[in-house]
Symmetry: C5
Amino acid sequence: MAKIRRISIKSSRRPTIPGTSPGSVQPGEDALKPRISIYTYDKDHFARHEAESHQELKQTLNRFPHYTHWVQIKGLNDIALLNAFRDELQISALVLEDIVNTHQRPKLEEYPSYCFATSRMLGLNKELQLENKQLSFILTKNVLYTFQDDYSDFFDPVRKRLEEENTHMRNSGPSYMMYSLMDLVLDNYFGLISRFSDELDMLEERLYRRPDKTITYDAQQIKRAFVMMKRAAWPERDKLNDMLRSGSELISADTKVFLRDAYDHAIQIIDLVESSKEISSGLIDMYLSFNSNRMNEIVKVLTIISAIFIPLTFIAGVYGMNFARVDPETGKVFPFNMPELYHGDGYIYTLAAMLVIALLQLLWFWRKGWLK
Amino acid sequence: MAKIRRISIKSSRRPTIPGTSPGSVQPGEDALKPRISIYTYDKDHFARHEAESHQELKQTLNRFPHYTHWVQIKGLNDIALLNAFRDELQISALVLEDIVNTHQRPKLEEYPSYCFATSRMLGLNKELQLENKQLSFILTKNVLYTFQDDYSDFFDPVRKRLEEENTHMRNSGPSYMMYSLMDLVLDNYFGLISRFSDELDMLEERLYRRPDKTITYDAQQIKRAFVMMKRAAWPERDKLNDMLRSGSELISADTKVFLRDAYDHAIQIIDLVESSKEISSGLIDMYLSFNSNRMNEIVKVLTIISAIFIPLTFIAGVYGMNFARVDPETGKVFPFNMPELYHGDGYIYTLAAMLVIALLQLLWFWRKGWLK
Amino acid sequence: MAKIRRISIKSSRRPTIPGTSPGSVQPGEDALKPRISIYTYDKDHFARHEAESHQELKQTLNRFPHYTHWVQIKGLNDIALLNAFRDELQISALVLEDIVNTHQRPKLEEYPSYCFATSRMLGLNKELQLENKQLSFILTKNVLYTFQDDYSDFFDPVRKRLEEENTHMRNSGPSYMMYSLMDLVLDNYFGLISRFSDELDMLEERLYRRPDKTITYDAQQIKRAFVMMKRAAWPERDKLNDMLRSGSELISADTKVFLRDAYDHAIQIIDLVESSKEISSGLIDMYLSFNSNRMNEIVKVLTIISAIFIPLTFIAGVYGMNFARVDPETGKVFPFNMPELYHGDGYIYTLAAMLVIALLQLLWFWRKGWLK
Amino acid sequence: MAKIRRISIKSSRRPTIPGTSPGSVQPGEDALKPRISIYTYDKDHFARHEAESHQELKQTLNRFPHYTHWVQIKGLNDIALLNAFRDELQISALVLEDIVNTHQRPKLEEYPSYCFATSRMLGLNKELQLENKQLSFILTKNVLYTFQDDYSDFFDPVRKRLEEENTHMRNSGPSYMMYSLMDLVLDNYFGLISRFSDELDMLEERLYRRPDKTITYDAQQIKRAFVMMKRAAWPERDKLNDMLRSGSELISADTKVFLRDAYDHAIQIIDLVESSKEISSGLIDMYLSFNSNRMNEIVKVLTIISAIFIPLTFIAGVYGMNFARVDPETGKVFPFNMPELYHGDGYIYTLAAMLVIALLQLLWFWRKGWLK
Amino acid sequence: MAKIRRISIKSSRRPTIPGTSPGSVQPGEDALKPRISIYTYDKDHFARHEAESHQELKQTLNRFPHYTHWVQIKGLNDIALLNAFRDELQISALVLEDIVNTHQRPKLEEYPSYCFATSRMLGLNKELQLENKQLSFILTKNVLYTFQDDYSDFFDPVRKRLEEENTHMRNSGPSYMMYSLMDLVLDNYFGLISRFSDELDMLEERLYRRPDKTITYDAQQIKRAFVMMKRAAWPERDKLNDMLRSGSELISADTKVFLRDAYDHAIQIIDLVESSKEISSGLIDMYLSFNSNRMNEIVKVLTIISAIFIPLTFIAGVYGMNFARVDPETGKVFPFNMPELYHGDGYIYTLAAMLVIALLQLLWFWRKGWLK
């Protein structure tokens, strides 16, 4: 499994210049040209259209006034289009700003004629970086608009279900579609948690087989991913709760039954993220403990070898001293200068003494438990 | 006592493919064929039947309409059977999904004609792994259905009590049976806490007798088990509270008296788990402290031996130098080249000096408290 | 001061076999035979009786129907007696179970004809182990029953106050007696906190005078004791709050004034326990920091001695080499082989160089601040 | 990027002498002389005046009674002026004290004829120190007064927007101006978070490229900055919430729509600060782990070199001993004194043995994984 | 600045013997004889009297029935006096006990005819120990009584303000006096926080200039002081909130405006204490990190010196071996025994080889970055 790359949590609001009028819409420089897809359906019919312009979109919607529509706008780099939406849907300038500044927390805002909501789509991109994209919803009587600033999504399962006839989705209005997309977003969280938990397990394996110094870094990265998920999941839960308690007619009672289910999922995600965070912290602690164990082991080797050989080397050093037995100049004999050297078995005795000292030390270390 | 094996907390939802229609029922691949047991009783009668099919079950229930029944379904790998239940009991598709996706948090959902509830059965399997199974309840007027996805359970004590005549259980309806099973599930938590606390005590023993590097790992495993229990016990408490405050007629006032007791147990479990978690953290801290003590001790041995022998070896090295007393070539005498070597007691003095140095150092270390 | 022994927090519920019918009363195997004392008093009279049986107790109570009674039952190993109480007082089987299973959290349960409450009596036993006993109360119109499972108590101060005439206690009903006993239990907490805080101070002394490796262990034990106290004090506070807000007529308004005082004490205990826990954690941190300082010091000694003598020993080693000045075989002279050895002041110069090297290193270490 | 300097969190209340009468106004010694700017505008008109005195200010305001005014007072060292404000606006002495003692938490106080609010302006000054200035607001029917104690501000974007005709700002009353300034203050928080997050990223880079010991210090400084921001952002959020729920007519319903947006920003700031704090803590942990890895590596080098050479040096030492083959005095031959030295291949064998020992040890270390 | 001495948090309740009747008044053994000062004032008049006895006090109060009085009682060692107060003011025995047992948390108790409140006066005594004294208030219609158990106070600013004519204090009743004293107590907290923050800054300085091992201890002491302040400030805040919401007529509406201000101060204190605690924790972490850096440095010196000289010493050892070139006994020549020694440039080559080895190692360490 390829390793997940660096995850950064930046101050991620405001491509706008500070102090600009609230509600001013300034798509980022690298924003993409919008692509509009319209999914039109009722119990018996289903069609997908692409629209090039707001006008074309409007025509399509008007052609099927009694159907449910999901209008998916990908790419936000067209102020004229966005303003057309604003004028048509009568949405507040602040809402439009929130759609374009894709750094909102998950939230629900109810207005008389529409509901505005946002979700955070978390996912790994091709470089295996954790991405945190915004999905914005505008829910009206029979149309659900979704806005996002890049072209990728993971909504194919919903599209497939749309093609099946007489399903709950085909029989329900746009609020059920909104629920389905939100639930799919949450489903992806489970996938990510599972993925990161697998990485944690692999880290734990590595910790036991061959601990290296990148483990702390990797564990920190994973912990950071969980921090990011937690930051997204808490307001997600609050948003779903707001939707459950919403008095708006746009969110049908039937949908609320399913929202309750999504709400349970959000709580489950928070639970999982919290305990996974605890596990990654535990892993970092274990690595530190491992390191301290290794250090103990290394120093033990050093100490044992030093403790055995340093005294022996000293003895050898003593008998390597050149105290003169006979003065070379005068020929005088010094009987007390290293008489051991002139004993026929001095060498044997010395070696034996060294052996005894080494064995006694080994015994001492063995009793201290250092040799195990 | 055999050691408890690895405990993992995985993202544990959704055997279903992401984005499938909510309420779709897809038992896991390794799901087991259902086995149905029916426990039929009133004050005076008690019988146990096995049913092969939903029809057989229905016949049994219809034969004894005024009795209380506990229908235990073990194994969920039969969509036809589950759909039969759905149609008969008029339960929501989402509830059926929650029964089959056995990763729900403990919860209570009240519907006009039935109550749906889940518990988490925690237990050690034969390989001593901590398992976390779901027990689902459907409570109707006189029948309690329980669903679980494997064949094992620990409900024998309830079965025994059922056989006794004129007990409270025999006199009460299915909500009391539901309480009894839930309480038994909670009782098992106490057993697990006791088991893991014993392991903690054994770890502490090991820490004092012979600390080895698996202690941190084992303590982390135990802590992880407590994290898992905590994650199950909190919503368990909330569920019991919901049941206490439920307005549903299906949960009798008489049962609520006992639910209050079970609620107290849930709080006690949370208490115990929290303090046990604190103790296991404390154990990890103590191990680190122990390790640092051992390190101190090891390095102290190294330092003492080095500090004593390195200077002595240096002295021996000095008197092992070959500065010439007499130039071998010219026969010239160098009176300042190591005159000590040509003193009759030079060796004795040197040894004495070495001894004095060693003793002074020992004294210094002793006063520093390093020799204790 | 004798040292407090090991404190264990075990899963401490259920001597009963899991799954037994709730409300079943099974005193533990080592339960003690009950002893019954009856304290009968009003403003002017006071008497103490011992009863051998429930009948005897009943006679005594009936003889003084207009007096207040405190019936103290110590030891619970008599099912017949307990059942007699149950029948007489009409108490629920669950309450009786809570009396016998002495592992309840402090709580208050109100019933139409009586109140049931529990307190946790914390205290050091003769072996200086922290014991956590249950004291159960049943409060009726003019009788307070207390139940505990061993013979010791610390209620002598209350008994003494009972003997004094015309005190508040003699003038008040059984709810005041219940308050007095609960307050005495809380008073004991203050004593324990004071005792453990003294131990903490002594540990801190030891940390400064002669830190040894048992300090972490002792600090952990004390911290564990505070964890246990905290676990008892929080529900104690809740219980007292429930009593303050109780609508039951059995708890007199006059007593509530005093309960408010006890409630303040419970909050004070929680405060003290929390900050004492923080102090014991701080002590453990300080020990780790101390250890790391000691390690620094030890390694500094090793480094200084090694750094000074290893290079000097190397120099001595160089001049101990046997490069031949004159080939013993051929008599050929090698003028470049160690000419230093054949210089008349070679030895003096070498010693001087060694001294200079040693002094330079000492200077370096001194400037690094390692010699302080 | 220049490094951010020391951030200190001091007890920052009360230039007043303790115990002085509340409401007494004593500007600090280094307070600046006030400068008054008046921004007068409605839909069609906009003018900026400077006033030298309170009288001049009053005249200006009176000249345009139907316009909206923003009166910006910078510098508070003029008690007469402040008292003139107090008398004119009828504000409480306590409010005046809060304006002058610029250490208030963000708050809103509603009075019948005006609202008083404070914000904390966080920003880096020229020395790159984090500054924490107070901005006080007094909102009346058509005038917004702002007070601050130095001359710098970052309100140019608002001034620019004021110059544009027919904007929302020009059409709205003073409460919208108050919102705009508060939102600008919050915008600056995002900038700071972004700045400090960049510093964190750079620290992380440094940690991987060349960890030095200032990393902990720098990470602590950044963490401290986040602590300071958190301390400002929490009450900021509460203040905005109070404004949202305010019943005062001075805060228009139209403004509340925008305040909701600012409130969202405050929550986002808290979120970001909390996770950034967690990241900076993680960085400190990673540095410790890095340090411990480096230590391991250093000690490993020491151990490997020592373990290889110390035994070899011992062997060389043994064969450097001077045990006599022939007694120089008597000419007696000692055949057991180091016969190895007199074997024709003794040297070769010895070198070979040394090589074998070194290789075996390298093999051992390699298998232990220490050579990687 | 003199260093602040040891701060201890003891279980600080109950000089009374456990189990004594609540409401019993037993001043501590070292309690001081009461001193009574009476401050009598209205708009135009101000007088200070000293009273020797309760009777004298009563006479003074009766002489000026329409004035406001502040009766300050310092020293509580006079049961008769206290009982006289109890009888005169009709205060509850429990209140009297709370006055004498000077270990109450800050609290407010309202009674029909009086209010009872306590504050914690924190301050440094002459030995620079943090003291935690109780100030008790009894507020009646026109008299404020304050009780404390020693003679010192820091209320001079209030006394001075009393001497000024026609101030708010002179025009307001005793509840304003109570507020003024409480606010002064809080003001002292700011001073303490400032003092301890300065100590923290000095500790940080020391950490950078010359870290020594007392830093952890000092930081722990300061943290402990903050813990103590936090324990006092939280209930202080609650008390002020209770006073704000009090329905008692004794606390005038006018005073409540000022109490709101004091409440803000209490919140500010809590804020400051919390962040200061975080800073002191950060300091301890930084010290540990510093220590670990120092350790790294020390061990690096040891490793570099050892790694360079141990191999060189080994080489010198090899050429110090005495393998015989010529058998002294037989005169046999061994051409393979250390032929290097008999090469004319052997010594030069050896020294060169040593130099090369040393340089290679230095290069290696330099590339590892160990030499910086």
